[in-house]
Symmetry: C3
Subunit: 160 residues, 3 copies
Amino acid sequence: MNEKQKEMTLIIFSNDMDKAIAAFILATGAASSGMKVNMFFTFWGLSLLRKKNYSRKGKTLIERVFGSMLPEGPDGTRLSKMNFFGAGTKMMKSIMRKKKIFQLNELMDMAVSLETKIVACTTSMEMMGIKKEELIDNIEVGGVVTYLGSARESAINLFI
Amino acid sequence: MNEKQKEMTLIIFSNDMDKAIAAFILATGAASSGMKVNMFFTFWGLSLLRKKNYSRKGKTLIERVFGSMLPEGPDGTRLSKMNFFGAGTKMMKSIMRKKKIFQLNELMDMAVSLETKIVACTTSMEMMGIKKEELIDNIEVGGVVTYLGSARESAINLFI
Amino acid sequence: MNEKQKEMTLIIFSNDMDKAIAAFILATGAASSGMKVNMFFTFWGLSLLRKKNYSRKGKTLIERVFGSMLPEGPDGTRLSKMNFFGAGTKMMKSIMRKKKIFQLNELMDMAVSLETKIVACTTSMEMMGIKKEELIDNIEVGGVVTYLGSARESAINLFI
């Protein structure tokens, strides 16, 4: 690998469980093989980084409504297709457990321990009224300029 | 930045308001920081470039049906999630106005004034029976070969 | 084109007809112009590679349920929007026939004859209980390491 080939930057726009699993399989796979990995969480994807049961104090009504409907971290996510009011998602999780395939929350923990750089998009945080304290620890915040800086150095760029 | 790092090429496949906003934030951010930006609008994404209330004369019935159901430019777009028959989209627009975040139509105007190259996909135009006159001014039309020419020169390629 | 510019690698995550058509137009266009093309089919996208009416013997109940609900190859796919219980998809297919635009199954055949490398994702196969015999011939199977190897060498990487 030359220098340029050593980096991968992913934009995580979606909060669908299936897409998030794909993203973190790519991220952990790349980090394991020695690549530097950057993940930018934007729009719906931002909710993957939320802590559970964070207080809603000081939020506007609209922010509370949005907040209550978006997943709080990986556990609240659902399949993008064949969800069937939660039954499809449960079925998929049980299959993954039986076949010993990593679940989303495990993949996220692995990504963090492999030193994946996780960045929360500032514009999305503002749009959805989400503060840094509501998000998991050990992440950075940044905007489009931060993203472009990483992406320009990366051999692999994806929008997920 | 070396030569190769100076270019970004986006395929805009979706006409969801949220994805279009993400695309134009990336495009205007990159163009502002001196990058050459190319955006290829294909399939549903093509409808982001439609003029409002363009005459349907000379169209087949099927083309009219498709035409009447697709958004005419940025104003007709909706959120990909939590739309709730329009209420979620309205709420998001009002939040963006209050927080002084640019709306989609403003981002599109900025992209044009920053000399982003906007290309409408010819195959999609044919498929949906959309003529060049129905699309906004100052854009180009092109096919997959045009796309590949730009993408091969770009440091950042995304499918949105 | 220098060496690096000669390769394109696509992740096909979706099984929506419209996205699959876009992917194969890109793939056949790139292969026709002399590029090496790699396509990785993962998650829902895997069902694009399924043979029709493959026996369900030896499958668990859950695998059969999933199997019966996923498309078997290109013919079972639907539009991601405006499907209207199948009517929109039919309409789009008939438009494409009339305007002599290639259908998805034709594009797939073209991609194969242009020597596109088609890879089925092993993790997805395990998750969905799909065996190699159930998939079309002349494809490879591989995981994230195989993907990263191709993607790092590619000028164009997309997640579709």
